[in-house]
């Protein structure tokens, strides 16, 4: 009975993730593709300049040669490729978020299904994307040294893991403090603790190795990073709202069925 509820929530979480992914894809296509194309244009212009200026940079030639040979054309990358990435991301994280919701439901305070879904989505956006983004921001094509991809990827995933664990710890500690401090102060204390430990981690972890090449347009970099933020914000906002409605229906059905059984099995006296 409970297992089937969890399964229903999981399926709806993945569906909500798919819907959210469609919205996020629309944003990524409209807002994100222009700066991606702009960055690729900068990259090509720099490569061409390096070729004409022979002797300008000895090591640069090998790097430029490595970049070439597109296996997938740009029109495919920016449509089907982009959609694949964003939709798989949405469905996978929708499933994980639905499971997190199943744990959180009824355990994080007096919140109904829709509020719990919204809080789960906000927490996922913050810990899975926003906090790692602030330390290791998204980089457009042409920014980023291919030699350091291993280190950068490790640090990025480490940062996600760390902020998710810190977020979990903050929720658990906040719940423990609630009886003593009251809900409001306990929430503030837990949030402050999360911010302080995150700030310390930002200071201690190695800096971003992405060397933004001299001459890369700052406005283009900003536009790209803002687009990345918008894609993720829309993804999680849509997920939170859609999944909240779906979860509400699943759980309302469950409560109604339980009530019906209870009434039929043990009629109230008098």
């Amino acid at each position: 009975m409970h297992a089937s509820t969890v399964r229903s929530l999981l399926v709806r979480g993945m569906l909500a993730g798919l819907v959210a992914g469609l919205f996020a894809f629309a944003v990524a296509y409209v807002v994100g593709e222009p700066p991606v194309n702009g960055s690729i244009a900068v990259e090509e212009a720099q490569a061409a300049a390096q070729e004409t200026h022979a002797g300008h940079g000895a090591a640069a030639g090998a790097e430029a040669a490595e970049e070439e040979e597109e296996a997938v054309s740009r029109p495919v990358q920016s449509t089907f490729g982009l959609a694949t990435g964003v939709l798989v991301y949405g469905v996978a994280l929708g499933g994980i978020a639905a499971l997190a919701f199943s744990f959180a439901l009824g355990r994080v305070g007096r919140f109904g299904p829709r509020a719990t879904a919204a809080l789960t989505a906000a927490a996922a956006f913050t810990t899975v994307y926003l906090v790692p983004f602030l330390k290791y921001p998204a980089t457009p094509p042409a920014v980023g040294n291919p030699d350091t991809i291993g280190k950068r990827t490790t640090l990025f995933f480490l940062m996600i893991l760390l902020s998710v664990l810190l977020g979990l710890a903050a929720v658990i500690i906040g719940r423990r403090l609630a009886p003593r401090l009251g809900n409001w102060n306990a929430t503030l204390a837990a949030a402050a603790g999360f911010l302080v430990v995150t700030a310390v981690a930002f200071v201690l972890l190695p800096a971003n190795d992405d060397a933004v090449q001299a001459g890369f347009p700052a406005a283009l970099l900003w536009e790209f990073r803002l687009a990345s933020l918008a894609v993720q914000a829309v993804l999680w906002a849509v997920f939170g709202v859609v999944f909240g409605v779906l979860a509400q229906k699943v759980l309302a059905g469950r409560t109604a069925a339980a009530d019906a059984r209870a009434t039929a099995g043990a009629p109230l006296p008098g």
């Binding site: 991606v36 982009l82 996978a92 499933g95 744990f103 990827t153």
Partner: protein, 75 residues
């Protein structure tokens, strides 16, 4: 009488607080589906970048734009 009406109004919020689902019911789903989801995220976020299970760069090139815009280090 008036008290009963008030307490009924207070105890019937617009959205009732649901009972927690038992952890034992969530855990199996969390383990198996969580694992599958992480594998899917790996292919979107990292395959043929820092690490490579499949030879070539087709996966990388296919999800290239999504990887950049979702915030993953790409290349």
């Amino acid at each position: 009488m008036a008290e009963a009406v008030v307490s009924a109004a207070v105890s019937a919020p617009s959205e009732a607080v649901p009972a927690p689902l038992p952890v034992s019911a969530v855990l199996p789903w969390a383990f198996f589906v969580g694992l599958l989801a992480l594998v899917a995220l790996y292919f979107v976020g990292a395959e043929q970048g820092a690490t490579s299970l499949i030879a070539g760069s087709d996966v990388h090139e296919w999800v290239h734009d999504g990887r950049h815009l979702l915030g993953f280090p790409c290349h």
